[in-house]
Amino acid sequence: MTDDDRFEDDVRDVLRDLARDPVPPSLVARVTGIPDRSPGPVSPRFSLAGPRLQWSTALVALVVLALVAGAFVLRGTGPAAGPSPSPTGLSGIVLPSPTPPLTVPPSVVAPTTSPTLTAPPTAAPGVAVPADFQPRSVTFASPTEGWVLGSTACSSARCAVIAHTLDAGRTWSRIAAPATTVNTDPRYPTSGVSAIRFADHLDGWAYGPDLWATHDGGSTWHKLDVTAFAGGPARVWDLEAAAGTAHLAYFAVTPAAFGIASTPATADGWTSPPVFLPVGAGPVPQVQLVIQGRAGWLIQVDREVIDGARLVDGSWSTWTPPCADSAGPAVLAAWSSTGLLADCDLGVWSTPQGEHLFTSANGGTTFKELNPAVPLDSAAGITTPDGTTIVVAGSGTGEPDHLIASFDGGRTWKTVVKPGLVTFTDLGFTTQTQGVVVVSTGLGMSYLLMTRDGGHTWVAVTFSCAPGMFCVNQSS
């Protein structure tokens, strides 16, 4: 045996040592259950191995569709049927050019299903997003596939509409949505949904305060009974999914406390561990749930940080969050199962000291303060893809709300979006470079902003752009 042979054997041994842990049972269940949950394989007649004639026919059809649709978009200068985002008024955001509205073909309009609500038509994939679509919440299950929960006008409220992309937000089509209303705040309404999350291509949820689920990529939705795992009336407040498991935080009415529930993403098997966070003494209780892989954190803020819970090795237990004695609120972000970042508004209810960042490298056991302070008066959200690029949404003294970003771990900051008096929701990164945030004005208008350069620039996404058409998103 030569030295080279021995060296190669060493490499083999090392690789086998590294790969000796068994396949997780959860993965076996997820993978072998795919045929039960997926719509099924694509018909062989469209496969690459299929007859060439059918491929060429499909190609010709696509080209014709693209030409017709492109001509429609490029020619269209007519007025929109409903309200559309104004290209002015939001400084710092690159807004899309308006595109003409597209009507939903009657053939795909489904009957309404709710006796008390005139729900919008349930649409088949490939249908254009309504022109008056107002985004409310966004989720991406991969760099290319994402969903946006939004609303459109219906009989008496804003009804849920879901937009779906398979090309990282460049084109969108409307898919089926829960037959319910969309809220702007999950705390006060007694029904409807306010946010959306997907764990993977198939399994997703719309929630706040109700809970709806899909296990077929959004083709069908069903409402879940929250009282079944909360033990009584409850409202779903926050929900995140990762590593094949979904977790949610709910507010139980009696006794008033926040609880947690978890389920395998592929099923509706919600169970609630005996971990409860009694509401604080302040008037505005709220919680934030952060999940990274199999690690997670829940923080309750009621004017100031109250308490929290932590997910370690699949189990939730109570946890003392950062800045618990700082007389101010905090928001969290995680970039790994151990890397955690907290933006704390120190002393806002005693002696204000401003916004400060704290970082943990051990999953929230200990924190270290980063200097200098964050140049904001209050922070509404924070995200980081790696602990070095950090984006914070908030406002300064006498200044409108804006996004600021640091690209050196919090040492220096610059304003990247300054849209005015708005609310930021679902600020987050999908990849190192691709991120999202929903911006809502007080006038019922909202926008989805996306960054594709790691947070340096943010561009408003247009939704009324069907696959096959040229849209402004494609050039961004």
Binding site: D10, V11, D13, A19, D21, S26, L27, S38, D200, S337
Partner: protein, 193 residues
Amino acid sequence: MHDAEAHLEPVMRRVGREDDRARAAAFADLVGGPALDRAYHYAALMLGDREAAEDATHDAALTAWRRFGELRDPARFEAWFGRILVNVCRDRRRMQRRQAPGIDAQTALIDRAHPGPDLADDIGRRDALTRAIRGLSHDQCEVIVLRFYLDLTVDQIAARTGARAGTVKSRLHYALQALHAAIDAEAAGGPPR
């Protein structure tokens, strides 16, 4: 007939039929067997993180199911599925580019509770080799794992990665050279990669 082919024979018969349930059962048999074990460990070695490996394997399996109609020869399922997985891992590793790539530091810890005097040198050498593999580029790590963990031939690696056989040979050569150099540098007291 090889053992693997004998195992696949009843599966192949089911795939040959157009019945949806048989097709689903065939897929579950194929993806849930030894192919899943190798796929998960390939992803774990490439991504260096068990959770990322689990998600990547699931995503590849879902893609495989959606494209199951393209598979003409179920006996070639693992090679076909492996190509999908290679691409999923490439995409995911591109996403985690700025994080420490490949070979999880936790999984890399060889049991050193009671190394014993004769094993100390061996453990040190294996630790150094682990660090050296972690330092490889994605393309080099890919060919090393495919060649020395999955025991694929150069032609099989070429088919799985879409590279030419000559390119695979070249990558293997330079990857092994890089590993040698890293080991030698550590032995000489240089900084670990």
